[in-house]
Symmetry: C3
């Protein structure tokens, strides 16, 4: 079970309640009134716990599980040992996410402004807002209902947060408008000047950065990630997009809805990602490009051209994944031959 | 126009004033007394706004612009629609930077130590210094005139800042001496120990890091960038150099004047960059190298050898850009053939 | 000598004392009662200073050194100029580390809770704990003896630190248990949610992250590095491992003992590193891999498969270093030929 020093567990829940919360179906023979107290991995779960089977690698563990209940794809249900109460779900991992959220809900903010905060008198705070110690809320900032501002975070002048936002400890926001249920992790930097200079031998002249960062609903932004504000147009992060740690988003970038950007990737200025683009870890995308809907950029790839919708790319400079794999194979083959045939 | 929640506009200015501030020439037929209230992009600017044409991609928009005035290269002036008051400049983007700075000047610091700050009684503060809420100024630190220290920033003991420095929210400085008009962005980490260990199977022994970070005038250091102090010699960032977000600068590195280092690049310990070196995004440079004046390191390149002055390199391991492009082309050609000719 | 604004020097020490602290041997003819006041580099050291010779590149400087004393490999001792008091050590750099630690010891924490801190009344503080201004210590946190918490750092609820830990300015810790003598640099982010989502076209559902970060004794974690807590199992950093700046460690990662991870590397979720693995700068390791004991991952490599113990790899996708070098050589040769033989 999760360490009670850090996690507060809700429940117990009946199998029936968990089915209803997760959209799963109580299997024939399962007892909807069965009480469950926690989630656990399939190999360690006991009779009072619910687990899930998502990956065929764990089928052997599933055959022997002692779990009281298990979320499983209907096609694999026949492998369950006797006595496990099954919940059937076509996407068991997604159903598990909902079950785990039931047992470990995000703590409700405590409506309070803690000791050691500095809240400007012109800031507007919604209902139930929690401001942790040392946070600073600037002039005319607006915090929606039930926002939670972490310790030593800084919300700059004029920044607007929708309702239900969580701002991590030590994060700093300026020049941005944030939607509802946005989760910004510790140390993220939102809204600072973009890297805009008129270069020249007489010195690099700063070009005023006059745009904002717009963050739509349900976005997550990882720890120590940096998102620069626009130079004139805005930098935009579309609804439901998830950005991991240490990512760099340059000025004027537009990220569509439902994109996923893995750690340490960087998107250069004025590039546009359509909806549901997946960007792997440590990817670099140069500026002023257009990445089409649903494209996938393989880890460490260096994208220097537009990528059409749906395409998967790899390598640096990036090319189609098929082409990149072929290049790797050819090069490996040539190296094995020692290139001798060419001498 | 820029969002008034975040930006305060100055002006209006006459065309003549803007010409004089930007070093541009009022074109024949233009009205030097024409009043302008703001900057705007060429496709959206209206009669009270001034725009610029820098990139030939925007020539079509320029032909139809409704802007009241436009900064333009004299060679393209003939394309202007009637009624636009032209300012002629050989580098219109640089002139635009100066015009935009006129309309949107960096706010003058408010001379005050805000609530919730902790300023050591032995710290020395110049005239007109602004210290935002929650900032911490250590013993014997010296802040020059008109410095502005962001909320929850930390200036360590003994740190010296010249005049006109801007330290972003949540940035931390220690063991460093900083020149005039230096801009350090939120979350930057300056002056911590370098990564110096005497490695060994019995444990990695910490080697005391006894140098400093020296930051010369007019430097910018991006959000969440890290610059370690020297191990014995100093780490030095030369005057006018601009460093983007999430960059790593190792101990003893010496960056010359006017260098530009794009986001997520890393320069390993004891490497030396001469003046006006350009380092692309996600570049890695190994330790103890010498990168000559004006060299250009292409995005994501991995530089493992010295680079002569003026050379452009690409790839990992990096080679001359020409060579790298040739390698990419060869590999692509071989992959297209499927390597069949070699079977 | 080190800038006295930032460093406090101890000593002087006799040659004999320094020999004893560093495990070196006083050479024949050297005077064990000779007093030394500081460390210095071999080319600048004077008669009152002790230096070291570790790298054959500095043999010429060594032949002419004016240092009062020098740590040197016995095999090179014969090159010393007359008058230098030699200390013989098989690993002179390691011996130097101990000598430098004698002159520049880590400052003993001052037992005090500074102004502007917020320490929850339920937190437990050991003997001699120093808490700098603006730090926030959460409910039920436990700080071992002689811990030092930097300005504006945040120690979350329930976090446990062993004795002698140093937490840098602006760092934030949550959901973690930390051993003794751990050094966490400014801006590091420890214990936030991992990047765990059940992806889907209807939105990416957050999967509760129910594990912790376990940091064993003598670990160092660099500035602005991010370490996510486990999803269910814990994220673990083994004893004596040293992690540089801007590194990303994903959820459930297990780092063995004595590992070294250079700046801007990223280790994806659930990957396991055995003891004494060396990870170069900007390396990326994908998830669910196993990297064997003593393996070495070359800078910028992209590791997509398990790496056996002791192996050195390079390239992206990574292969054995030998193979990678051969591939680079082949490609360079083909490019020189212009591929013409294949036409």
């Amino acid at each position: 079970m999760a360490d009670p020093r850090f996690f507060q567990r809700a429940g117990p829940f009946t199998l029936g309640e968990l089915a209803s919360r997760s959209g799963a179906l109580v299997a024939d023979g399962a007892d909807p009134s069965r009480l469950l107290t926690d989630v656990a991995a399939v190999d360690v779960a006991g009779p009072e716990q619910i687990t899930f089977l998502d990956n065929r690698k764990y089928v052997d563990a599933f055959r022997q599980t002692r779990a009281g209940a298990c979320l499983v794809d209907p096609k694999l249900a026949y492998l369950a040992p006797a006595g496990v109460n099954l919940l059937l779900a076509s996407d068991p991992y997604r159903a598990y996410a909902l079950v785990a959220q039931a047992f470990y809900p995000v703590p409700v903010p405590q409506a309070r402004v803690a000791e050691g905060c500095v809240v400007d008198p012109t800031a507007v705070l919604g209902t139930g807002v929690q401001i942790d110690p040392g946070a600073v809320i600037g002039a005319r900032a607006e915090l929606g209902d039930f926002c939670r501002i972490g310790a030593n975070a800084v919300i700059g002048p004029g920044v607007v947060l929708g309702s239900g936002c969580i701002i991590g400890a030590g994060a700093t926001l300026s020049h941005c408008l944030v939607g509802n249920n946005v989760n910004i992790y510790p140390g993220a930097r939102i809204g600072q000047d973009g890297f805009g200079f008129a270069m020249g031998p007489g010195g690099h002249l700063k070009v005023p950065q006059l745009g904002r960062v717009i963050i739509e609903d349900e976005v997550e932004i990882g720890a120590n990630t940096t998102i620069d504000r626009g130079a004139g147009p805005d930098t935009v992060i579309g609804a439901g997009s998830k950005i991991d740690n240490l990512v760099q988003i340059g000025h004027n970038v537009r990220i569509g809805r439902g994109c996923v950007i893995v750690a340490q990737a960087g998107i250069s200025g004025s590039t546009r990602l359509d909806d549901f683009v997946a960007v792997g870890g440590q990817v670099g995308v140069t500026g002023h490009l257009h990445i089409g809907m649903g494209a996938r950029l393989g880890a460490q790839s260096g994208v220097m051209r537009d990528v059409p919708a749906g395409m998967t790319v790899g390598g640096s400079p990036a090319t189609s994944m098929t082409e990149w794999l072929r290049q790797n194979a050819i090069l490996a083959k040539l190296a094995r031959k020692g290139g001798s045939s060419k001498e």
